[in-house]
Structures are given as C-alpha cells and as structure tokens.
C-alpha cells in the first residue's frame, strides 16, 4: 500500500526565516546608534530650541541614519516578526524626539518655546519628520504582524480608500476646486500626500497646451568697491534660461527640461489685481511716464493681452528673490561685484496654423508666414531688478510687471511678403532690421542676436 504524504502547507513553502536573535541583534545595534546620536546631542550642548546649526549635527545625523538603516534591515530580515518592527519603531521615534507641550498660547510660534530632545539634530527638522513617520509606521507594522490575515486585509482596504480619496482630492484640486476637496485636503489629506509626493492632479496639457517660458537675465557687474552708479565701469552680460545649446547636456535632455519647468513656475499670476486702488493708479501713471521718456529711452505701450501681469506672492516674494540670489552666485566673477540682476520672463507665443501658413483670416489675404522664432513672438515681462542678496531694488520701477515690447515699429522696415526674404534680411542685418527691442533699451544693454534660435 502506498502512503501518500500530505501536500505541504503554505508555511512549509516559505523559506525559514532568520532566527529572532540575529534579527534582534541587528535591530538593537541600530537602536543603539540612534541612542548614541541622542546622547551626543546632549553631551555636545546642541541647541534644544530653534533651528540653529551646531558642529555635532553632521555626526549625529550620520549615526542616526545608520541606526535607522540597521533597524530597517532588521525588519527586512524577518518581516513577519514584531521584534524587528519594534526596533525600527524605537529607532524612528528616538530619532524624531520628544519634548514638553508648548506653553498655552504659544502654539502658533514658528519655533515653540520648549526643549526638544531628539537623536536627529533640531536643525535637521525635516529629517526628524522622516524619522517620526518611519517610527510610527514601524509601530503600526509591529501591530500588523499580530493581526489575523482577514484583519490585515481589512486594514489594507481602509488604507486603499484613504489613499485614493487623497489622489481624488489632488485630481480635483485645480480650480475651480470643490469645497469638499478643499476641506479634505486641508484637514485630512495634505500631510500624507505632500510627504509621499502623491499630490499631482495629472492634468497634463490641460486645459490647453501652452507656450513655454524663458528667463532673460541681465547680470550687471562693477569692480569691487566701486560706486553703484559708476556707468563707465559697468559691465553687463545676458543669459537665457534655458538655452538648448548650453543646457541640453545629457542624452535625453533632462537638464534642459528641468530648466523649462523652473521658468514655467514664474508664470503664476494674480487672477485679478488685488491691490488697493491708489497703487493701481500710480502703476498706470508710472507706465505712461516711461512711454514718454526722451532721448530714445521711451518704452512705448504696444497693445498686448495682458499688458500688466502681476505675479502672485509666491513668485514675487519667494521665487524671484531666490532665483536672483542663485544667478548672482552662479555668475559671480573674481574681482567683480554683482551690481544687479534684471529678470525678464519671456513667454514664447505659439503660432496659429493660419499664421504659420501665412494667411490672415480677417482679410482673407495671404501674408508673410510667421517664423516661429520671430522676436516679436516673445512676450517679455519685466520681473524686477534685484541686488546680489535677492532684494528687489525698486518696487516702484515703472516697468515692473509690465510687458516690454519687441515689435515692428514705424522706424523699422516693414515685414516683407515672403519668409525667405525675411530670413535673408535677418541673417544679413540682424533682428533690428525689422524689430525694435525695447528690452535692450529698458535694460540699457544690448541683447545678443540669436540667429534662428535653433
């Protein structure tokens, strides 16, 4: 008689896990490293409040990171056992830290007036956050390993609902945003979605594909120690960001496209000008005055929609100053000071099909086909003149946030009938043959000619 052995059970088909002692050893070493970081912080007198740097920050962060890594390894060695998870939880939570409740009435302080004791330095508060989340997650994981399978499935499904509710809120967050999305986002979803970077709305090329934006930056230098208004010693250099020939350096052009994304962030405007009425009147008056300057310094008003685009506060108060500081740093030269950084945001208008073909729908006549790189298709908007520290030098500058036109004026040659003649003359005589570039006039520095922009 043949005796058939019973089929192997599911647990027989799983590789035997590592012994708990080994897991615990690795885990506790990890916890020990984080505790060492904690003790080093106390012993070295690292600040317990605020975000000031301290010499021990580097070693502490390294120790804590290593400790968390080892604790995480312990989890991976035997994921079904709560011991590894508890070590990871301990490492995470010690790294995150502990402190007393802030005194009543001080909860709104940016840096609460209480001592915070942590393995990760307080100056590295974002890394503390990561440790905290990791520790909390590991604690949940430890509980997880003790739950029956059905309870695990139920918890997972609850998380799935929470996760996709968050994604749905991100998807519906672009304007017009439903009230429910606003409430969900601000009360429930945003910490999780921001932490995990799952807050994208996925609305690509919508509502319409739009034009790209360039930055035209003028860096003005002066010799170190010279007076600010010493014209004779002024040197200025233009930069275009992004510039394909300079920035397309990796095979798939990521460095170029990243810069396109950077410049696109500047294109965020106030939906309507919210300022008080007196400023609006003064803004218009200043602009009018700039259009009547004498000595060839006038910047005429050329119809455009819109002529005045004030950026929102994120752009005007944060992005532009940061960009200016970066540019002053990146283009610093030995022996010279950066006197100013002038930034123009240039939207590159897309040609319509009719324009590209050379057809005027209003008259039904053929006109010169538009060259997609024609200078007048660039819509520059002056974003400000900044010093090397990112301070806006003059917020009452007449052209601030105004369109600075590049146009075919009466003083230029009329556009020809054929594109070939246009390109020939551009090559021969430069863009000034057909266009007046008031950007160069406003910046008081001639922009370099870019033939074809190919």
């Amino acid at each position: 008689m043949t005796v058939h052995s019973p089929p192997p059970s599911p647990t027989d088909l799983e590789e035997p896990p590592l012994p708990p002692e080994r897991v615990l050893t690795v885990g506790l070493i990890g916890v020990g490293l984080v505790v060492s970081a904690f003790i080093l912080g106390l012993a070295s007198g690292a600040p317990l409040r605020g975000f000031d740097a301290h010499w021990a920050d580097g070693p502490r962060t390294l120790l804590a990171a290593l400790g968390l890594f080892l604790a995480g390894c312990a989890v991976s060695m035997r994921p079904g056992w709560y011991g590894g998870w508890l070590c990871a939880a301990a490492a995470g939570l010690i790294g995150y830290g502990v402190g007393a409740q802030p005194p009543a009435g001080t909860e709104w302080y940016l840096s609460p007036p209480r001592d915070w004791y942590a393995g990760v330095p307080n100056a590295w508060d974002s890394v503390q956050l990561f440790f905290g989340v990791f520790g909390a997650f590991a604690l949940v994981g430890a509980i997880w390993t003790r739950l029956p399978r059905k309870a695990v499935y139920a918890c997972i499904l609850i998380w799935v609902c929470y996760h996709y509710a968050g994604i749905m809120s991100a998807v519906t967050s672009p304007p017009p945003m439903p009230w429910m999305t606003d409430q969900y986002w601000k009360r429930v979803g945003s910490p999780y979605l921001q932490f995990a970077y799952m807050n994208n709305a996925y609305q690509f090329y919508s509502p319409d594909p739009g034009p790209a934006t360039e930055l035209w930056v003028l860096i003005e230098y002066r010799p170190e120690g010279s007076a600010d208004d010493a014209e004779s010693e002024r040197e200025c250099i233009w930069h275009i960001i992004p510039h394909r020939s300079e920035d397309y350096v990796d095979p798939l052009g990521l460095s170029y496209y990243r810069r396109l994304s950077l410049t696109e962030n500047l294109a965020q405007f106030q939906a309507s000008y919210m300022s008080l009425a007196p400023e609006l009147k003064v803004v218009q008056a200043r602009r009018e005055k700039a259009s009547r300057e004498s000595g060839g310094r006038d910047i005429p008003r050329v119809p455009a929609t819109p002529e005045y685009e004030r950026p929102n506060e994120l752009v005007s108060r944060q992005l532009l100053p940061s960009f200016a500081r970066h540019l002053a740093h990146e283009y610093a030269r030995p022996g010279k000071e950066v006197r100013s950084v002038k930034i123009y945001r240039a939207r590159h208008q897309l040609t319509t099909l009719a324009q590209f073909r050379g057809f005027d729908p209003t008259t039904g006549q053929s006109v010169m086909p538009v060259d997609p790189f024609m200078p007048s298709l660039y819509i520059p908007n002056f974003q400000g003149e900044f010093d090397g520290e990112g301070q806006l030098k003059d917020s009452t500058e007449p052209l601030l946030y105004w369109y600075v036109p590049i146009y075919n004026s009466r003083s230029n040659n009329p556009l020809p009938a054929t594109l070939e003649e246009y390109k020939r003359n551009i090559r021969r005589h430069g863009p000034s043959y057909y266009f007046t570039d008031t950007v160069s006039r406003h910046a008081r520095c001639e922009r370099p000619v870019e033939e074809g922009r190919k």
Binding site: E107, W108, Y153, F195, N200, P209, S255, P278, L319
Partner: protein, 628 residues
C-alpha cells in the same frame, strides 16, 4: 491565502489579494531602476544648481516655505473667516505699513491714546452714505495736513476750535463735517488726538502717504477691527488677537505678516509642508557628493534587485529627498517615478528577475543538495520559480488603478480647454519651438509643406486630438475588458508620440513602465525570463557529502533557471570529493574553470554576459573563488 476565495471580502478580496506571479513587478523594478538611475545621474551635472545651498530654489527659501507656509482651514459652516489685519501687496507699501505697526508703543494704553483719533474717525463714518464717505476722506486728509503745519499754525487751529461756532474757512487745515457738530472741548481734544496720531507716522513723506492710503482704502466694515487690532483691543475666542505688546511676539507676528500677508496666530499650527530632504540641510559640497554617490549606488542595487526589501525603501526615500528639495524643477515624470517607487516598495519587486531571486535559488539549491535526499518543500518550490504572492497582486492592482486615475484626470481635464474641442491642440504641440522638433529645419520644411493643404492638416490635427482623447478617456474603462491589449497599444503609441513630438522621453519611459502592470506575468516570463526547458542539456555530478562540492553545484543550479542541468549526487569512495563534473551538451566532461566556461556559454541566464569570460583575470578569479 486560499480562504479568501470564499471569505467575506468576496470579489474585492479576490481582486486585490489573489496570489500572482511577481515577475511583472520584477520587470517594472528593472525598468524603473534604470530610469531612476539615469534621472539621478543627470542630476550630477546640476547638483549644486538644483540642490545646493545657493540653488535656484535656495535652502533658505526652501526651509522658509517648508516651515512657515500657511494653509489656513476654511470653516466647515457658512461663516466667513475674518483676517485680523490686511496689508498691501506691493513691497514698498507693505513695508511702510509693517514699520508703522512695529513702531507703535508696546503698552496698549499708550497705543490707545495715540490711536484715539482713528477710533473717533472710524466710529463716526460707518454709514454708507456719501457724507460719511466724504467725512472719512476729509478725516484722513486732516492727518496729512496736520503733519505739515507749523507750530504757530497748530496754535492757530487750536484757538479756532475753541469758538462756539466753528468755521475752518481760514484754517490751515480742513476738518470733516462731524467736527463742526462737536463741542469746543471735543474739537480741541480731537485736534490733540490728530497731533498724537501724527507722532506715530514715519518722518518720510512717501511712507506717510502709503500709510494714509492704506487707512483710507481699508475695507469700511473692517475699519473698527483694524483699530482694535492696532490698539490692543481685539479678542477672538478669548484669545488676544491684537498687535502684541511683547516685542518678541510682535516681531514674530509682523515678520510673518510681511512674508505671508497673514496673521500667524490665525494660522496656528496649520503651517508648513510635510517635506523632508537632506538637501535642505546639507551645505558642504563633499558631503553632498558623498550622499549623491550613495544614492546612485542604492539605485543601482535596487535595479539589480539586491537586498530589495532594504534597497527599495532606501531608493524610495532617497528619490523623495531629491523631489522634496527641488519642487521648482519637477514635472510629470517625477510624479510617475514616485508612483512607481511607492508601489514597488509595497510589492515584492525583488522576488523575480533579480539578484535576490538568484540568491534565494542558491540557498534553495544548497538546502536541496545538502539534504541528503530529504524533501525540502520550500527549496523545491523556490527552485521551481518565484512563488505567487498576494502582495505582488496587490501592488500591481494599485498601479493599475492609479494608472486609470492618471488617464481619467488627464483626459477629462482636457475637455475644459477649447483647443481640444476645436482640434487645434495637436497643432499647438506640433508647433511648440521649445519642446518640439521645430528647431530642425527639415521638420519646419515638412510642416510648411503640410499646411498648404488645409484639409490634410485638419485631418492630422483632428485624428491626433481624437486619438488622444479617446485613449485617455477610454482607457480607465476599457482596460478592464477584452480590449485591454488594444488600449495598451494605444497608450504606447500615445506616449511614443509625446516622446517624439515633445521631447519628453523620460516621461514616456516611465509611462511604458507603468503600462507593464497590465501585461500578464507569464508573457513577461516567457519573453524576458527563460522558459523552462529551453537551452541545451547538461549534467552535473557532485558529491553531496562535501560542502564545497554542494556549494559549487548549488551555484550552477541557482543559475540554471531554465532547468537545463540534471544534477546527480554521485557520492563514491570513502573520501568526499569536492570536485564537480559537468557533462556539456557535446558530451564532453569538464571540471574546474572549463566547467564555468561551459556554464557561461550554455546556461540560458548567462548567455547575455558570456563575453565577460573574455576579460583578462576573470577565470583566475573564478578559480580562486570556487576552487577546482
């Protein structure tokens, strides 16, 4: 795992938790890892520009936003939140207003004395009638005028105000009408209040004008609230919400107001963004490069599938470090990268097509070969291939659902735009100079030829537009039907088009990786892996009594994923023999380095890397490592 078919979770449980082959996840891991490696290697060219302390979005700004950015909650009911204070947006006006508030006396009683005129003016001009408006403007103008009168004129005005019937025709300043209705004592007190208020104004005439304009144009029904804020009388829910008396608190409130335009106390703890990144704190270039190189190594290990349970989590965390630091340079591909990394962490992405899988096979081979004929169920199962896993199925399902969300949102949101309805969207993509191919003269020439035919262009634009909309809107629904292969092909074509026409190649690669989630694991295993039974047959004889022999034979067995080799435990003689013998497909018996050469040549898994054997020094190393 088997009880969930009849368990209470029913169809949902089967959908999410049925065990499945993790090979799909394995291929997704490899592709994701390669793209992530490329993306972050490309960062090497711009490490300081994007992540350094003086990056485009510098550390100072990044940390400021991360710690302070307000996200005030709107009430759950119908009430409208009232700001304690509103300041102007333009920097020159706002700074004057903030400076004015900074210089007000600390003591609320002293402030109330200085601001008494404002209280009188605001309280007497609350009506919406024209007269009230005129009085208010006159009241503001009075402050302006009073700041410019001489000492003699101050006395002159005081004397005029003493008269029972007040007439300001010959007065150097003009008073609002309500002053005429006051008693002489009230008028004089008001004049003293005006002069007291003037002492709070800056000496600079332009700044004075900004402050007065701010007061004049402040929203009428909020003026008393402004006074209460400035005078130290504003309370909300028992909390003092006026301009703080304490210098430290005042500085914090005004600094926040200057930066963000909001009262930090009203924001409370709803500040900041839940971002984390070492790049927000690292400043030393050497340390930055060390972290960056470690990150690249981790991504490489993740791609290879080595210690994937650890490297997947590390890779996910490291990739988020870059993303959180540099939000200004991100675009769609980074979103896709994060989606993939997140779900690959959740699922057993290292269970197949990985070095981990090979290591497991090796451990299983050792267990089987060293068992002396005993059954080792887990090892036998492991050598048969990656085990079906409910976690793998769950991760794949999450990717599938998220993919549907992406297409759903992308497709339906396009319907908000007119260019998609009128079919000009395709043209706008084709004719985009920065993204597209217009920089090539040949492409421009081709477009100019095509546009001569309006019908042809309309056909092309319409087809592309309709194809895009049909794919994006249709996929979330049709991908779950028999039309799945069609939708996968459409999706592939769509992203191919985007890669070519927009230059967004990396984005396209990520989308291809995502769309793999709809591929059957068996198809991937057959095409990318090695089907069992393929390749030339060989035999390996080893002595199971010798650990070294078992180890060497185990290695060959681990690499024999197609089952080409028959392993024979041919223990003979009294002494255990550490030499293993391979009979190659031509019948020749080889040992030592010749054995490994044969394995390298004939084993299906190693065939792609057989040229490694041509590198000098490889075989001596192998001999040292494994012995003869």
């Amino acid at each position: 795992m088997t009880d969930q078919r009849t368990g209470f979770l029913g169809a949902v449980g089967r959908f999410f938790f049925s065990p499945t082959d993790p090979t799909t996840l394995g291929l997704m891991r490899i592709m994701t890892g390669l793209i992530v490696l490329y993306t972050h290697a490309a960062y090497s060219l711009d490490l300081s520009n994007f992540f350094g302390p003086n990056a485009w979005w510098d550390q100072q700004q990044g940390n400021l936003q991360r710690r302070e950015m307000p996200h005030p909650r709107t009430p759950l009911g119908w009430e409208v939140p009232q700001a304690t204070i509103r300041v102007d947006e333009m920097p020159h006006r706002r700074s004057a207003e903030i400076e004015f508030m900074r210089n007000l006396p600390n003591d609320p009683a002293a402030r109330q004395a200085k601001l008494r005129y404002l209280k009188t003016l605001f309280s007497r001009t609350t009506s919406s009638e024209d007269r009230s408006y005129r009085d208010f403007s006159a009241g503001i103008f009075l402050i302006n005028s009073a700041a410019r009168v001489s000492d003699d004129q101050v006395v002159q005005v005081r004397n005029m105000l003493k008269a029972e019937k007040f007439d300001d025709k010959n007065s150097p300043v003009t008073f609002p009408q309500f002053v005429h209705d006051m008693s002489p004592q009230e008028r004089q007190a008001l004049w003293d209040d005006v002069l007291a208020f003037n002492t709070t104004l800056p000496p600079d005439g332009v700044k004075q004008e900004y402050i007065l304009a701010w007061l004049e144009y402040y929203v009428q029904h909020q003026r008393m609230r402004l006074y209460q804020f400035l005078a130290g009388e504003l309370k909300e829910n028992g909390q003092d919400m006026s301009l703080p008396a304490d210098q430290g608190e005042r500085a914090e409130v005004l600094d926040y107001l200057d930066t963000w335009g909001l009262d930090t106390r009203q924001i409370g703890t709803h500040k900041g963004v839940s971002n984390f990144s070492v790049w927000l704190h690292l400043t030393d270039p050497s340390a930055m490069w060390a972290v960056h190189i470690i990150a690249l190594v981790v991504f490489l290990l993740f791609t290879l599938g080595l210690y994937t349970r650890v490297t997947s989590v590390l890779a996910w965390a490291l990739s988020l470090n870059y993303i959180h630091r540099s939000q200004m340079i991100l675009f769609g591909q980074d979103t896709m990268q994060t989606i993939l990394m997140t779900y690959l962490v959740i699922g057993p992405s290292g269970a197949a097509l990985s070095l981990d899988a090979l290591r497991k096979r090796y451990r299983a081979a050792l267990a089987v070969m060293g068992a002396g004929g005993r059954s080792v169920p887990w090892a036998t199962a492991a050598l048969a291939g990656p085990q079906p896993s409910w976690l793998a199925n769950f991760a794949v399902r999450m990717v599938q659902i998220n993919f549907c969300f992406i297409y759903f949102s992308s497709g339906f949101s396009k319907l908000k735009g007119t260019s998609w309805w009128e079919h000009s969207a395709a043209w706008l993509v084709m004719a985009n100079p920065e993204f597209g191919l217009l920089r090539y003269q040949a492409y421009e020439w081709l477009l100019r030829v095509l546009v001569e035919s309006r019908f042809l262009m309309a056909l092309i634009a319409g087809s592309v537009t309709m194809f895009t909309l049909a794919t994006e809107i249709g996929l979330p629904f049709l991908i779950w039907t028999r039309l799945r292969p069609v939708m996968v092909i459409f999706s592939t074509l769509l992203h191919f088009g985007i890669a070519i026409m927009m230059g967004l190649t990396v984005f396209g690669l990520y989308m291809y990786t995502l769309v793999l989630c709809y591929f059957p694991a068996k198809l991937i295993r057959d095409r990318v892996g090695s089907a069992p039974g393929s390749g030339r047959k060989m035999t390996v004889k080893y002595d199971g009594r010798d650990r070294t022999a078992v180890r060497k034979a185990g290695l060959v067995r681990a690499l024999d994923i197609a089952g080409q080799v028959t392993f024979v435990d041919a223990a003979t003689g009294k002494e255990a023999d550490r030499t293993i013998r391979l009979t190659d497909p031509d019948g020749k018996q080889v040992v030592g380095s010749d054995l490994y050469r044969s394995a390298l040549r004939d084993l299906v898994l190693l065939r792609p890397v057989r040229y490694v054997g041509l590198i000098p020094g490889v075989w001596p190393l192998v001999n040292v490592w494994f012995g003869r």
